[in-house]
Symmetry: C2
Subunit: 144 residues, 2 copies
Amino acid sequence: MRNTARWAAALGLTAAAVCGPLTGAAVAAPGAAPSSLYAPSALVLTTGHGSDAATATPERAVTLSCAPAASGTHPAAAQACAELRGAGGDFDALKPADGVMCTKVYDPVVVTVQGVWQGKRVAYERTFGNACMKQVLGGSVFEF
Amino acid sequence: MRNTARWAAALGLTAAAVCGPLTGAAVAAPGAAPSSLYAPSALVLTTGHGSDAATATPERAVTLSCAPAASGTHPAAAQACAELRGAGGDFDALKPADGVMCTKVYDPVVVTVQGVWQGKRVAYERTFGNACMKQVLGGSVFEF
């Protein structure tokens, strides 16, 4: 029940954040306060066609922030944050989606993740054989 | 007018996307579409005490997205995006704040910026003599 409420609140905040900075006291001031109350978790994820990030143009790039609430331009921020927490912040340990089949056509897609997860720097890069495999293996986190 | 509608649709879909994976063609999946309509601009900025990012713990980390609209956990996203656009995306060319004096006490603060600005990867790091100099020289962009 509490999770549901939190999830709904997070969704609301995603929209609110677009309209301007949040104001208020510590609990009510997520704009500035989180870093002193929470270890920061703020990421930017990119994806592009190619076998490595050095040569692939980033075709999409989204932000994902998971504290104090899930937000960002990631299309499924709340779900992505939940899956990342489930994996202990390890992008190699994300739970694959169930029951999806992918071709083995090689059309590589590279994903990068940079920023900070629970106070620690993240610099992650992973190449998938094709876009389907990226979505299956990365779950919601890489689905953007 | 079309942009406003698209923006509203994207917001709505951000919420909708939490409920399930996006399906359909490019135009029908605005969760995914913005990046094909706009060159993506999604950044994560960190700051910490120390003379370089390799050794400084990131004390704060915020996300900043500037297209299609300014958003993110950055406390002044709209202003930061405007200043960045004014500097042509060059973090060394940000306009310093006027009329602020800083001491020269050396208590270094390092700022990093990673992600994508108008479709190009950004990997920026800059060390300031102290926190005051960071805010003066970086304007709103580094004020988080």
